[in-house]
């Protein structure tokens, strides 16, 4: 496929992914409302919010790092999405995954976080670094079970290539890593909760405590970039999980179903559990999820 067409497809893919991310965020709000016995906002509420934010007439900024941070944030999300193959067999949706393997993807997740942290901290608002401190702390904690699961998968397939990992799962639902290495899957899916920063791991934003955490000072167009970045980051993460544990997707429909399933895992957990404090979250991740991850690696070693 020529590079130009590839880029065009990717651009389209990014837009779709953002839209999809906004939709599932809307679904979450709706679901949460229903769980709480409310009617809840319409599913497309996120689009309205995004539009409203873009149409804001004034914007304020602090330093120039504050200005650039949303770019890092959105760039991180989009870049991450572009490094993950979405639908196998469709070159248009395999994005730029030839650039690097799972390791690159794992590290690219941090790109956006770092940009976000830098910009937020530049606003000079004390809540921003407090939120970042919590977020980064939590990030390192879920990294251990996540890394163990990734190591287990890679060792199993003897490759860090996401494509190879997907291919190894073909040929039946029981070949999915979710069932092939359930322990690693458990570790990874618990880590996923932390990665998504929904309850019980939403101490970062912690409304009512440190208003909205890092983006306290963000507004209008900056906020819109952040919202888009967050949406596509969420999509990229679930697509990654789909590729790693649910055997990837052969069609857009399958991708839709599988990603919804993965996403609802964290939605439902978040709806039921109260919030962890930072140190509780850290200790939680370093406890049983890590044990599960170690067991997952051992499982590979024993085989």
């Amino acid at each position: 496929m020529p590079l130009g067409i590839k880029i065009a497809w990717s651009f389209l893919g990014v837009l779709v992914a953002i839209a999809y991310g906004l939709v599932i965020a809307g679904i979450i709000r709706k679901v949460m409302a229903r769980i709480q016995g409310r009617i809840g906002p319409p599913v497309w509420q996120q689009f309205i919010d995004l539009g409203k934010v873009i149409f804001q007439r004034t914007a304020t900024r602090h330093g120039w790092m504050f200005y650039l941070a949303p770019i890092f944030r959105a760039g991180g999300g989009i870049g991450l999405y572009l490094l993950i193959p979405v639908v196998i067999g469709v070159p248009a949706l395999s994005n730029f995954s030839f650039n690097g393997d799972l390791l690159l993807v794992m590290y690219f997740i941090f790109f956006g976080s770092l940009g976000m942290a830098l910009g937020a901290a530049d606003s000079g608002h004390p809540h921003s670094p407090i939120g970042i401190s919590r977020g980064l702390s939590q990030m390192t904690a879920y990294e251990l079970p996540f890394a163990l699961a990734m190591v287990a998968l890679a060792a199993q397939v003897h490759s860090f290539s996401i494509h190879d990992i997907i291919m190894a799962q073909q040929g039946g639902i029981l070949h999915w890593n979710l069932f092939a290495n359930p322990l690693a899957a458990i570790a990874a899916f618990i880590a996923f909760l932390g990665m998504n920063m929904y309850a019980p791991f939403n101490i970062v934003g912690a409304p009512q405590e440190i208003p909205v955490g890092p983006p306290t000072e963000y507004n209008s167009i900056f906020l819109s970039l952040m919202m888009s970045g967050r949406a596509i980051l969420a999509v990229a993460k679930i697509v990654l999980y789909m590729d790693l544990f649910l055997g990837g997707a052969h069609s857009i429909l399958a991708a839709f179903v599988k990603t919804i399933i993965i996403y609802f895992w964290s939605v439902f957990v978040g709806a039921v559990f109260p919030r962890f404090r930072t140190e509780q979250a850290v200790r939680f991740f370093l406890g049983w999820p890590t044990v599960a991850g170690i067991a997952g690696v051992l499982l590979v070693l024993i085989r």
Binding site: R38, Q45, T58, P207
Partner: protein, 216 residues
């Protein structure tokens, strides 16, 4: 302190003659619009679309001043659920569109209200909740509460009562949304246009004006 305004004022306070648009209006936009935006074709239609977005995504500043603060909380509950109108509480003024002055307002609080209001990005709206914001209510002769909110910030809509129930508040929001869609809720423009007048009023009651002026 005898230069109190003589004229009877509607909900939106008419500025005195000769009030000039203030600073930031000069550098880039008038009434919040850039010249490029003003020159856009279909500007009216576009404005309607924008207003529709704005009306359906009202983020409320989570800020309670008087006894009415307690009336805001039920809005988020299952009984009233203002989220179905796209509204949400935001804890930071930078991301809020509406500020509700919920009841009596001490001079001391007024300072904070002004500051929060000025930190909100345009367009932004002020809801006066309860009698105290209209004419002082039962605190009319208190030495430290203001009697008329609209002398200090532009109020887009008042909700009368002492206290109004959440239903009334919701109805008020409904009205506000309609006004926004119609393009009538322009208190923030009024504030900018009569900035000096507002500042003068504010400084009359706030004696230790230690608020930095760097915002404007």
């Amino acid at each position: 302190m005898d230069n109190k305004p003589k004229s009877t004022l509607p909900v939106l306070v008419e500025p005195p003659k000769g009030a000039q648009p203030h600073g930031p209006l000069g550098h880039g936009y008038f009434l919040g619009e850039t010249k490029r935006q003003q020159a856009l074709p279909m500007r009216e239609s576009l404005a309607k679309i924008k207003n529709w977005f704005r009306a359906n995504s009202l983020w409320v500043m989570a800020y309670g001043t008087g006894c009415g603060g307690i009336e805001l909380r039920p809005l988020t509950t299952a009984r009233f659920d203002f989220e179905r109108f796209g509204m949400a509480m935001r804890p930071t003024p930078r991301q809020s569109n509406v500020i509700i002055i919920s009841g009596y307002l001490a001079v001391k609080s007024l300072k904070r209200v002004i500051r929060a209001y000025e930190q909100m990005p345009s367009p932004k709206w002020v809801v006066g909740l309860g009698s105290c914001t209209i004419n002082g209510g039962m605190y009319w002769d208190s030495y430290n509460t203001i009697n008329r909110l609209d002398l200090y910030v532009p109020v887009d809509i008042y909700i009368a009562g002492c206290m109004p129930r959440p239903e009334a508040l919701l109805a008020g929001f409904g009205e506000l949304m309609k006004m926004i869609k119609r393009g009538e809720a322009n208190g923030w423009n009024h504030y900018l246009e009569n900035f000096d007048w507002y500042k003068e009023n504010q400084k009359k009651v706030i004696n230790d004006w230690n608020m930095p002026d760097y915002n404007w």
